[in-house]
Amino acid sequence: MTSPTETHPATRKEEALWLLETMVPGTSANHLSLAFRVEGPLRADALERALIRLTGRHRALRTVYRATDTELRRSVLPPGQFRLPVGDIPAATGDAIRDLEAFVAQPLPLDGTPPLRAGVLRGADGDTFCLVVHHLVFDTASATILRDELVTLYEAALAGRDLDAELTEPAAEFTEPEPSEAHLAYWHRQLAGFDRQSLELSYGRPDGPTPDLDGEQLTRDLSPEIRAAVRQAQKDLRAPEAVILLSAFALLLDGHGAGPDLVVGSPVNVRPPAAERAVGYHINVVPLRLRVDPTLTLAELVRATRDTFLDGLAHSGVPVDDLGDVAPSAATTWRNPLFRHVFNYVPTVGDPRFTLAGTPATLLAVENGCSKFDLEFFVMPSDEGIRLRAAYRTENFDATEVAALLERYEALLAGLLDHAATPVAEIPLLGPTDRAVIDAANATRAATDPATVPAAIHARALATPGATAVVDGDRAAGYRALWLAAQDVRDALRAAGLAPGEVVAVVAPRGVELVAAVLGTWLAGGVYMPIDPDHPAQRIAYQLADSAAPVVLAPPERAELAGEGRVLVPLRAPREDRDEPLDAPPTTADAPAYLMYTSGSTGRPKGTLVGHAALANLTAHFARELDATPDDAGLWLTTFSFDISGLELYVPLWAGGRVVVAPDAARLDGAVLRELLERHDVGIVEATPTTWRAVLDAAGPALAGRRVLCGGEPLPAPLAERLIATGCRLHHVYGPTETTIWSTSAVLTKVEGGRVPVGRPISNTVVLVRDEAGRELPLGVRGELCVAGDGVAFGYHDRPELTAERFPTHPVHGRFYRTGDVAFWRRDGALELLGRGDRQVKLRGNRIELGEIESVLSRHPEVKTAAVVLVDAGGPDAALVAFIEGVGGPELTDSVWEHARGELPRAVVPQEFVIADALPTTLNDKVDYPALLRLAEERRAAAAAPNATDPADPAGGDPLVAQLIGLWAELLERGDITPDTNFFAHGGHSLMGAILVQRLEPLTGVSLPLAELFADPTPRRLAARLRAAGAQDSAPGAGTE
């Protein structure tokens, strides 16, 4: 083989294919193939002869490429210069398609040899021919052309005819012209201001630590009905079929988290009519910018898509690789900067069957095992139906997820005709499987009887008056005694002037008096507001003022709580029994039961008003779920100002069992907890993950056989595993105060894949996962978890605007609460929570779920808990800081860091790891993120301090250093220069360095060789050199060395 003489630089479009291979070495993503199976033997010699003629005939097949270290160059070999041997393809696996795929995946080096290879796979029932060609010289249309010509030439060769006498018309040739200025300008206008971050889906997975291009495909045939629906939509919406199908693809992507402003790649054959049968790489993937505005109707979206699509076709002469300056890539990445999803409309898929020398043959699709795009839809319509093939990167999706996408796409197409006038945001996205799974999970109807908690306790007091209701240290109170004490409280509240519906602040530790206070408030028609007596005075004062409670129930010594029109009513303990009837509570289910203050991560604490129906629903559900009986004891462990404490109190009383009051120490000291559990034979115990972590070592052995609830903050998988291992029955519960204590629950028996679901909705509860436009999301798509049903609170006290914002109304499910938590439905109908929506942050262009990072860090065997915060968010020094509470000391850092690097994409590996004995917690025993953020910021400030003790004078009073800092700042155009800033690591290069040393001469009187700047490239070190060389400080009074 001779080497080509005349070489040319490759085009950008060609170069892009090569660059992909340099970034993902060894990939076969650019390998295309022509393969067909013949029901009989194939003759290699005849194929070889045919191929010699074909390569002679088609210039593209003689084009070779040579990749050097800096560029790709192209040249064309003269005809007849090479022979393409047709060897046997090894039948290595016994599976013909696999053997062919292996053949396709073998390297096609760009070393000046023709980037193609051919072979025959021999089989008992026929042979298969396979030609593998690099995309540089080939495309799908080329395959059809070659197949036709190969048939002619092969048949002629078999017949012994002269091949030069065949195909006498010259082969079409096409050299793509340079894109015109006008077309380039069109694309610049089209794509101006596009933010590629909007391409990220809330579905599937992001790239792993080392992305590859491994791909798979999935094919689905759509029904004739859908075929008909698309046809009808073409007429009704007056758009070509491709536009209808593309609009649905855009809707699908938008419904999975991309958009609303999105770019979809769409391959276009750019051959002009005269060169229709030219072999070569004549496909341009045009970047179609589609705006899926949620307020548009479907018909309007289709119209806009039609315009974009047709304009795009009219300007398809610009390869997307020539548009690099539209979206300059911040990082070297294999990904196209403009799109990640491709819509490939293939309207002319012919019959795969044909005849070769009288023998039946069939075209085969042999994949190269790769996908260059996250997702590519091949849409192949025919008269009978529409065939859909989805190619996807296996790193981003699994087969089930892609199958679900296809099903949803089908559902979207099926609904086109019904939704022509529907705004995009209201078009249902769910496929039949989604609908079935979600509806089943939300089928939660159950009776709540009695209708209120006080009615249930009153019934117990009448039925079992002497049974123990509350055990409080050495004291115990029976149901009747408790109710009588409540009546005393009621009478005192009435005497104090309490009117029905008014708020009563209850300031008391957990105990009999507190239970009497709560029941008494209800008996008086009031609404209780719990206040932890140990909370800071300021917080208590705020709550009292904000709630405008006219009465405080508190120990008599808390006289300071009265005033400003507030009356203090002392708490009551049960008295000796007396002959008095047990009055039925006046409470109705639609009345408010309590006002609960929560602090939230920002802003002032706000009060949530919860009704009796909601509380009764929660209590009835958990009495059932926990199998609570009159023989049961439940531990009252959580502070009463945290709403989950209500479950600990009301579930045992609802069931007629005992409430065992636990001291605060039991939340910190596992031995105390264990003693209580064993002494009182407690069956039900609830705590937050933070508390469980603190007590599990000592209390764990006592948990076997007990019902354990854990919730209130994310439950790390290892903690869940430890809890399960105790032999307890673990109920993982989730819910915000606004939907009454808990809204979902899962009984966990094992932890799979490091994920801990929060389970399914509790009784009379409907969960919706919605996107920003308010659409209900399908399985697996991450969105805001919203709760409707009986648990929904009345709203926020005295905050009508906030209430309206957070508690909208659903057309079917009525009022619901937007939790702000990010979650998705799993295929098994359970929900999985990803943390707070406001814990989704952006760092250097990456969308990051802090909760996800924590969950990965928590899987390290020695990490007890991990909390990640983003410091200097949005600033130039933004960084992730991970706080780790673990077994072992500071030496844990290295191993956690290594774990993080192995498991997380590079962009989200925390920059700093801080090992702490214990993480700070809020009053409700949750990790205190604001406190961690302050801590992280203080650490950064302290770390920065030694270099710049005085930010106003970073030079530390040295005028020469100050002068150099000024010069550094000017040349590097930066404001963050310190005495230790390395000139060359901060944007300087040798030319700039030469300018710098030249500028120094008049300033210092020293002519410094450039090499000295290379050796000492910081202001501090260069100042020392300059002084050594006799520099004069220009500032007066300086130069003391």
Partner: protein, 279 residues
């Protein structure tokens, strides 16, 4: 009295009687981290020196052995025991004779750790020219840059002989430099310095080709980035598997290799002689 080497930079001075010798060409105003950055993170309890090239302009006529002898003279004179020789890029080539000579006078040969080691060839020299010219966009027009790169390409095609190619590229660089550097107001001396820096660097690459480092590399540890055009990544799989004793690969860009914490940990382990991953 503290010994100061004449031909090496001192990167770490902790008063130890053991030395780590790092081989590199630090005098280019390179923008990516070098051994100084690695040492700042590594904080070894040993002296660390880095080889320095002869002053720009004085390299004419020197051969690889002259470079190596000058550095070895420093080491011998110091009396320090060399525990490791490190090499970065083409510095890895010089690391081989350095380690070999040191082994001849020490009881124990030094460990050899190579970071993206590469043997120079025409492609490498051409790439440095090509990229350097590309970086002059602040003083040259796109057309001028492309023309200069085209001339570089021709030179590459014309010269199989490395010294000839180096001379040609140096002279091309002097030509474009004359135009561009004058535009930003650099005086002739400074212009000359920049050209001499390039010349000195290219000469360093050319003489490195006189050395066969492979026998020493075969017992060395390589630390590799994933940049396709750097270090061992340019080799075929078969050659790569046998050319070093151990190849630790990181999913890092070449430019990040000497500042990455993970790399630092592996180097620390390798220097201590304990297996990596043991903690």
């Amino acid at each position: 009295m503290v010994f100061r080497p004449a031909r090496c930079n001192v990167l770490n001075d902790v008063g130890s009687n053991e030395l780590i010798l790092a081989s590199d060409f630090p005098a280019t105003g390179r923008t990516i981290p070098g051994f100084a950055d690695l040492v700042a993170k590594l904080r070894p309890h040993r002296q660390v020196w880095e080889t320095a090239p002869p002053p720009a302009g004085t390299e004419t006529g020197l051969h690889a052995t002259d470079y190596v002898d000058a550095w070895l003279a420093d080491v011998r004179e110091s009396g320090l025991r060399v525990t490791a020789v490190l090499g970065y890029c083409v510095g890895g080539v010089f690391a081989a004779p350095l380690a070999e000579h040191i082994a001849s006078w020490q009881d124990e040969p030094p460990a050899v750790i190579l970071f993206d080691p590469e043997r120079p060839d025409g492609a490498l020299i051409h790439r440095h020219y090509h990229e350097l010219v590309a970086g002059l966009s602040s003083v040259l027009s796109t057309d001028e840059i492309q023309a200069a790169q085209e001339r570089g390409r021709k030179a590459r095609e014309q010269h199989d002989d490395l010294p000839a190619l180096a001379a040609e590229l140096s002279s091309l660089f002097a030509d474009v430099g004359e135009v561009g550097f004058t535009r930003v107001g650099l005086d002739p001396a400074r212009r000359g310095e920049l050209v001499a820096t390039f010349r000195g660097f290219v000469h360093y690459l050319v003489v490195a080709a006189e050395v066969d480092p492979v026998p020493v590399w075969r017992r060395a540890t390589a630390v590799s980035s994933h940049s396709p055009l750097n270090g061992l990544n340019v080799l075929g799989a078969e050659e790569r598997d046998t050319i070093v004793a151990r190849d630790i690969r990181f999913a890092l860009d070449h430019g990040d290799l000497l500042r990455d914490d993970d790399v630092v940990r592996h180097v620390a382990d390798a220097l201590d002689g304990t297996p990596t991953g043991a903690r």
